[in-house]
Structure formats: structure tokens, C-alpha cells
């Protein structure tokens, strides 16, 4: 009974539920029709409206590259700045036939085949719907022409950006270097996420060495762009962190004085503060215009720079290798005393030449008639070659090598830009490995006057001079003194590299050598006496003349008969004041003839510029 009742009940319930389900089904269909009609309304009736919106109202996120830090000189002059510039950029997805459009563009604006080649490569690497640059550095006329015809080129736009500019052009290129467009190799090397949107990267000099400081951190912005990819407005922005400014140790006035004093000759000049290694002047001539490299130098100009026999691309300060010549003599003298070979007063006889026992070859002194009895003071002030032949012979190459190494010869100076040469400080080992030959005693002799295999870079010579001026305190040359934050204007000093101290047996040796060098300039018969005339301050120096070609035994060096490129290099090292020096200088004038005649006057001009400043005079 109960079972029957339940069954009946079940039937009744099934009917009730079925009715409600059918009712629900009707509602479902009604609501689905509502959705359908809504979608119909949007996709068909309002289609054109929304298509316009879609095309004219695109929102995308773009990287905002940081603004590169500026580079200032010691005296606050801008050496590398960011100038507004215009480039032509394309969104490839919005153009049907790119080749045709480029052809059309070419009627208006110069687009080189190289531009197109680079552009087509860039397309492959770019993300969809992003700008690809077609041309850089549009001039104002080109911008105007394009703007007038802009409507003809949907998907192409002139974009304003910042372009690196070096106002001192060729005068500082070897120190500062330059930035150039990022290439694939750079991208592999750098943190890609931080370089999203960045177009340029430091390739040389300070721009390269301090890339991470100068670059900053990328930011992002959400922008609304229309169908042509043109930016309508910025919706959201996380600002990039701009790169930090660099404050160099270079003093533009001193730099300028040095360049002017070189008067267009090839050469290198380094001035540095022996107290901390600050490089005050960094001259390598000839230079070249770094601005040409920023957006890619054309091949022809580049080839002519490469082929030039003046070699403007070489950084003579850090890469130029020159025989140090007689500038090596003060160091040799010190090594001689230190090793107990000679006292300051010991004399050698100089008849104008020197021969090794059992050899016929005569090693000549620059003074044909000889210097007579010569002690170290006279040997330095008058630059007696014979004295140093004998001294070098007595020292032997091993002790010379060890002694000269202490002054940094044959090693990179560790200046804060890369690509430095370490010069050449010859030794027995070196000769065996490099040339497969034993060391000959004759080679030791000419080593004593800085000839033969010995090669040093101007920065090495400057560092060694500063070490001497410091009485053995070794400082590392540097070009960047501090960085400053653009936002907070907070300045941060870059700590100097740790100093070293060369220990010698008797501290008076320093005074002997430095006194002799002072008398090179201020003493009677000093080789640079002319440059010391009427100087209101005292300075010490040493002249040098480096032979470019060997001269046969019975030949005379006659300047007028020798082509310029084979003439001697003129060298001069100097520091001032003699006590507690504030500046040390190394000068090399290629094919400039004698050091006293060509190089020393340059030092005098620089020292006058530097030492006679009101602040220096009051300090002194």
C-alpha cells in the first residue's frame, strides 16, 4: 500500500518538476536570445563604431629608456650631452606593402640602401606592433616635409628622441669615447630587460667603462595609440631612473692649453695630480669626431679614418707605444743607487762614446765631444748617455727589469678606461719567448737610455713621473672623480684605488733624483733651462729624444735630411712644484725632434696655465 502511494506521489512530483524544468528551459532560451541579440547589436549593428574605436584607441605598454647621464669636466663644463633629435619610425604590421611605402618615402626623404638593410633586419627581431626605426637624425627640413605628407603614410611616424652630442668633438674623444647604436653583440652582453627601449650604448672610453652608471634603469608607460600607432596620450607611467652624471678629473682649460701648445702635431700629453691620480689633461692627437659614430658612421668616412697614416683612431695616451728615451734616466739613476752600483757622487768618464770590452761597436753620446767626468747629477741635468750606458751595463738587465717594474713600466697603468696597452719592459725571459734569442749585453746598454726594445705608453710615463714626484707613493690614474644623481643631486665620490709605496734603502735618493730633475730646468747647463726661464714657480723635469730609426755607426743625425715620419720623437716629463707637487706631466710629440726644444716648452705652457691660477698661487 505504502509503496503504491509513494509511486503515485513520485509521478505527481515528476510532473511538477517537469513543468518547472520546461519553464526554466523557456527562460534559458529567452536569456540566450538576449545574449545573441546583444552580440548581434555589438558585432553587426555597432560594428563600424567599435572598429573605429579599436583602431583609434589602442593601448599598449612601451618601455621608456632612461636618460643617459651627462659627463662634466672637473671645472663643470659639459663634455657629453643629450640633444633632441628626430628619427623616422615604422610599425610594420600596419603597412601592407613595406617596399612600396619606402619607395614612396624616398621621394621625400633621403633613405640610403644601408638604412633599408638595417631596417629589414630590425623587423625580424622586433615584437609585433612595435616601432622599428628606418632613418635617424632627420634634419628640420626633413621633419617638416614628412609632417606635411604624414597622412599619406599611416604606420610611419617621426619620433623625437635624445641624441648624444660631444661638443669638444675630436679634442676629448680618446678619453670620453662615444656611444653608438646597440647591436646584437651588445644585447648579448647586457641585461636585456634593462636595455628594452635603449638605442645606444657606450662603445669606447669612459662611455663604455662607465656604461652601467651612465645608463640608468628602464621605465614603462602605458600609452594609448591610434590605428597608425601614433601616441595619443600616456595613461600610466613608471618613470625610468635616469643615469648618473659623471664628473671627470679632466680640466678643460688645461686640456685646451695642451692641445694648443701641440699646435697640430701628433702626440700625446697626460697631466695628472700625483696626490690622487686625477688625470687633469688627456690629449691624443690627432683625434676624430665622435659625433659621427653615434648613429653609425658611413663606411667611406670610416675607411678614411682607418687608412689615415696619422692614425687618429689610436688612443695614443693608453695605446701609443714609444721608446721612453732619456726620460728613463732619473729612474735608472735611482735604481743604480738603490742597488749600490753608484753613489750620487760617483763619477764616470764620458769621452762621447762607449764600447764594451772586446767589441768595436761605439755607443755614442748625443754630445759628440763628451761630458768629461760626470756624476749622477750632471748625468741627469745634461742627459749624459755614456754615464747610463755604463750604469746599465753594471746593473745588468735583470736588475733594470726589476727596478723599472716597480715604477709600473711594462704594466698597464690601470686607468679606468679599457683597451690599454702595457708597453714593453724587456727582460731575458721576454726575449727568449718573443724572439727566441738570448739577451745580448749591448741591448742592456741602450736600455739605459730608454732605447732598444723598451716601449712605454704616455699614461705609464705620467704615472711613473707622479710616483717619482711623490717619492715613491704610487697612485692609479683615473678619469672619473665622482658621480651625481640627477634627481637628488647627491654627489658620490668614486674612491681612489689603494696607494702603494715603493720602499727604498735610503730616502735621500729621492731628493737626489728630484733635485737633479729640478736642475734640468733651473740649473746651469740643464737641458730644459730655456723652458725654466723666469718661471715664478719651480718645477722638475727630464727631457727625452726617442729615435725612430737606427742611425748607422758613421752617420750623423741630420734633421733636415730625414723625412718627417722618421724624425725623432720629442719627450718631456715634469712635475711642479718640486716640493709637494700638484701636477705631473708626460709629453710625447711624435717626430717632434728634440725633447728640450719641442716637448719642454709645451710643459712650461701647461704649468703656467695651471700653476699661475689664483687658487693655486694662493695655495702655494
Amino acid at each position: 500500500m505504502a509503496r503504491e502511494f509513494k509511486l503515485k506521489d513520485n509521478e505527481h512530483e515528476a510532473l511538477l518538476i517537469a513543468r518547472r524544468v520546461y519553464f526554466s528551459a523557456a527562460i534559458v532560451i529567452l536569456l540566450i536570445l538576449m545574449i545573441v541579440s546583444r552580440v548581434f547589436y555589438l558585432t553587426v549593428i555597432q560594428h563600424d563604431h567599435f572598429t573605429t574605436l579599436a583602431k583609434s584607441n589602442r593601448v599598449k605598454i612601451t618601455a621608456v629608456p632612461p636618460i643617459r647621464g651627462l659627463i662634466y669636466s672637473r671645472d663643470g663644463v659639459v663634455l657629453a650631452e643629450n640633444k633632441p633629435s628626430f628619427s623616422l619610425q615604422v610599425i610594420p604590421e600596419q603597412i601592407n606593402d613595406i617596399d612600396a611605402v619606402i619607395e614612396e618615402l624616398r621621394q621625400l626623404i633621403v633613405i640610403e640602401d644601408e638604412d633599408i638593410k638595417r631596417f629589414k633586419q630590425a623587423i625580424k627581431k622586433q615584437r609585433r606592433f612595435e616601432n622599428v626605426p628606418l632613418r635617424f637624425n632627420l634634419n628640420e627640413e626633413e621633419v617638416a616635409i614628412f609632417s606635411v605628407n604624414r597622412h599619406r603614410f599611416p604606420g610611419i611616424e617621426v619620433i623625437a628622441g635624445l641624441n648624444r652630442f660631444y661638443p669638444y668633438r675630436d679634442e676629448l674623444v680618446h678619453a670620453i669615447g662615444y656611444v653608438a647604436r646597440l647591436d646584437e653583440d651588445d644585447f648579448q652582453r647586457l641585461d636585456q630587460s634593462n636595455y628594452r627601449g635603449t638605442t645606444h650604448v657606450g662603445k669606447l672610453g669612459i662611455e663604455k667603462a662607465y656604461e652601467s652608471v651612465l645608463h640608468g634603469e628602464v621605465g614603462y608607460q602605458q600609452v594609448e595609440v591610434n590605428a597608425q600607432g601614433r601616441l595619443i596620450r600616456v595613461l600610466e607611467r613608471s618613470a625610468p631612473k635616469p643615469g648618473e652624471n659623471l664628473h671627470l678629473t679632466i680640466d678643460v682649460k688645461l686640456q685646451k692649453t695642451a692641445i694648443d701648445a701641440l699646435a697640430g702635431r701628433k702626440g700625446a700629453i697626460v697631466a695628472m695630480d700625483p696626490n690622487n691620480g686625477d688625470v687633469l689633461a688627456f690629449v691624443s692627437t690627432p683625434g676624430y669626431d665622435p659625433n659621427k659614430f653615434v648613429n653609425g658612421i658611413d663606411n667611406k668616412s670610416y675607411q678614411s679614418l682607418l687608412a689615415s697614416k696619422d692614425k687618429p683612431l689610436i688612443n695614443r695616451v693608453t695605446q701609443g707605444k714609444y721608446p721612453p728615451g732619456s726620460t728613463i734616466k732619473p729612474f735608472m739613476g735611482l735604481i743604480g743607487m738603490e742597488n749600490g752600483i753608484r753613489t750620487f757622487e760617483n763619477e764616470s768618464w764620458c769621452p762621447g762614446w762607449y764600447s764594451l770590452k772586446g767589441h768595436e761597436h761605439r755607443y755614442r753620446d748625443w754630445k759628440k765631444q763628451g761630458h768629461g767626468y760626470t756624476d749622477l747629477h750632471k748625468a741627469i741635468t745634461q742627459s749624459c748617455d755614456v754615464y747610463f750606458y755604463i750604469l746599465a751595463y753594471e746593473l745588468g738587465i735583470d736588475r733594470i727589469h726589476a727596478g723599472m717594474s716597480r715604477f709600473g713600466f711594462g704594466q698597464p697603468s690601470a686607468i679606468d678606461i679599457s683597451g690599454e696597452s702595457k708597453g714593453l719592459l724587456p727582460s731575458r725571459d721576454w726575449k727568449r719567448q718573443a724572439l727566441g734569442q738570448p739577451w745580448y749585453p749591448g741591448e742592456t746598454l741602450i736600455m739605459g737610455i730608454g732605447q732598444g726594445y723598451a716601449l712605454s705608453t704616455p699614461i705609464q710615463l705620467a704615472k711613473a713621473t707622479a710616483t717619482l714626484a711623490n717619492k715613491g707613493k704610487v697612485v692609479t690614474p683615473r678619469l672619473v672623480a665622482s658621480t651625481s644623481n640627477v634627481m637628488t643631486e647627491e654627489k658620490q665620490t668614486i674612491p681612489a684605488k689603494p696607494e702603494k709605496q715603493i720602499k727604498i734603502n735610503n730616502e735621500t735618493y729621492w731628493d737626489d733624483i728630484i733635485g737633479s730633475m729640478r736642475d734640468v730646468v733651473h740649473g746651469p747647463g740643464g737641458t730644459a733651462w730655456r723652458s725654466g726661464l723666469n718661471a715664478p714657480y719651480e718645477f722638475a723635469g727630464k727631457t727625452g729624444t726617442a729615435q725612430v730609426i737606427g742611425i748607422a755607426q758613421d752617420e750623423e743625425y741630420n734633421k733636415d735630411e730625414i723625412a718627417e715620419e722618421f724624425q725623432d720623437h720629442a719627450l718631456f716629463i715634469a712635475f711642479a712644484p718640486v716640493e709637494n707637487p700638484t701636477i705631473a706631466i708626460a709629453i710625447i710629440v711624435e717626430n717632434g725632434g728634440g725633447g728640450s726644444k719641442t716637448a719642454a716648452p709645451i710643459a712650461r705652457k701647461m704649468l703656467d696655465q695651471y700653476m699661475l691660477r689664483p687658487e693655486m698661487v694662493s695655495k702655494g
Binding site: 505527481h12 512530483e13 511538477l16 532560451i29 545573441v36 555589438l42
Partner: protein, 363 residues
Amino acid sequence: MEQQTLGQRLHIDFPLLLGIVALCSIGLVVLYSASNQNIDLVYRQAIKLVIAMVIMLVVAQLPPADIARSSLWLYLIGIVLLILVLFYGDVGKGAQRWLDLKIFRFQPSELMKLSVPMMIAFYLSDKSLPPNFSRILLVCVFIVVPVLLIAKQPDLGTALLVGTAGFAVLFIAGISWRLLMAMFVLAAAAAPLLWYSMHDYQKRRVLTFINPENDPLGAGYHTIQSKIAIGSGGFYGKGWLEGTQSHLEFLPERSTDFIFAVFCEEFGMLGVLLLLCIYLFIIARGLYIAVNAQHTYGRLLASALTLTFFVYVFVNMGMVTGQLPVVGVPLPLVSHGGTSIVTLMAGFGILMAIHTHRRFLSF
């Protein structure tokens, strides 16, 4: 005894399975485009779908009588978990929804989507239908308690769906039209109360729903951009992977809640019609199962689950097309995500169980 079909032996309803597989396939295809061709994401989603389908087939093996018996317990466990979540839950996207069970993270509100209709169907099928007033009142308590707990997390979308599921059972059970009207009036009166209990972001959503242009960069942004995506798609769509709106990455939540906008943009009105046909087919099959179920519990539960499924679809599409507020309800079986898919598939498993565990009278 009548020969059982293959489907009955395996407890699989093939028409339903066909519809589900079709939907999932479309979902993966759209996800590939919406995720900017992230094949790994599609792969992971496919794995989730397969796991969810396995769960569906496992659930389908359970006899409906067992499911009915578990209703009360599942409901009570769910309520306890919801309370736990309020105190110990993990916070994600400004809401406390997750319970960290060390092995996996669990959203108790998802369980309630199934256990609320199960509980109510279980309770109502006990006595003859339609239910009397006092029983209806108790059912309302069964609905309101979890809904309030979920709304407090706050998860308005899920609360709405749980409430709908419970209410659907009540409606199918034959609640009188007069009472229905009265409840509607009561709900309208309660609306201001609800307004004050809402979070700021929810209020903003409702306000911008009324006029999205008010705040085009903030809360109205979703709706405006999805309407543009749908409208610019046109009748035939822009083509797969060609949706500029989504590929310019400005359509928000395009692989989850707003995947329908991506679908519309790329496949147009034509695609929408096809998609709706598949949904309609699944719903029709679900209701067919409900009507042909042998027990009241099965009828009530099957129809409630099917109608809830439809409400999912409708709320999501209504939201994406700008007819309903943005409440965060995914498009079932198409949107990217794991938890909701497991719940949905388990629901389909229950449908299959109801349909395939039929008792045949032997003559």
C-alpha cells in the same frame, strides 16, 4: 533484464561528454590566442581539463543514493571550511578564499556550489512536493548561511552562483508563484542593505556598470575594452590569432574572465552562435536527464546543476558584453583556471551518475 548500453555500463553519458569535450577544445584554441601563443599555458590547462574529466568519470560511478546520503555531511563540512577560511584563509587578489591544505590549495566556496543544491535536494526530496512554508523557510537558511559566508570573503561571483544553485532547487521543487513574487519583492527591499555591505570595489563595479564611461581608465575599463573587442570582431571575426585588441595586450583578464571577448573578436557573431549552440546542447541534455531521472533527488539536483551551469554562462557573457556588472565569473569550461573546472566536471559527473544508474524493472 534489458540489455544495458555501453554508456550505462561505463556510467558515461556520451552526448554530455561530447558537448563538454567540444567546449574544452574551443577553450584551448581560444586560450592559445588569448595567452599570446603561450603553448605551455595551453598544455597545463589541457592537463587540468583531463584531470577534471577523470574526476567527472569517477563521480559518475557513484550510485545516486550514495550521493544523496553524503549531501548533509558535505554541506556541514563545507560550512565549517568556510568559517575556517574566514580566519585562516590565504589572501589572494584582495579576498580571502583559499585554504592552504599543505598539499594543495582549496577553495571551500567551490565545494558549496555542489553541496548547497545537493543538501537542499536531499532535504526536499525527503517529503512530498511542493514544500510547505516552514520547509521553504529552512531551505532559505540553508542557502543564506553559505552565501553570506562567501560574500564576506568577499567573492560576490561565487556567492551569487551558490545562491542561484540553491534557489534553482527550490524553484524546480515547485515553490508557489505567489511566494516567488513575495521573495522577489523582499529581495528588492534588501538591495539597499546589500549595497552598504558591499566592498568599495564592488560598489564601483556596479556604478560603472550603469555607466562605464564614468571611469574609462579604472573600473569601466574592462567593460569598454571588451565591448570594443566584441564589436570590432564583426560577424565573421578578425580570425584566429588576429585579434588586435587582445594581442596589443590591452584587454584585461583576457585568458580568464574575459576570454569570451577574445573569442568574439576573433570568431565574430558566427562563432558566438556556434558556441551558444554547444552550451544550449549541454543544457538541454542536462534538463533531459533531470526530467527523466527516476527519483526526486535526482530530478531536483540534475536540473539545479544544469541551471547553475547556465547561470555561469549567462552571467559571464552578460558581463563581457556589458549587460551585467563585472563580478568575476569565468566562462565555464572555456576560461583558464583550475578550481572552477573541477567543480563543474564533478557536477557533470553527478548528472551522469543520475542518468546511468537507472534501475530497470525486470519482467
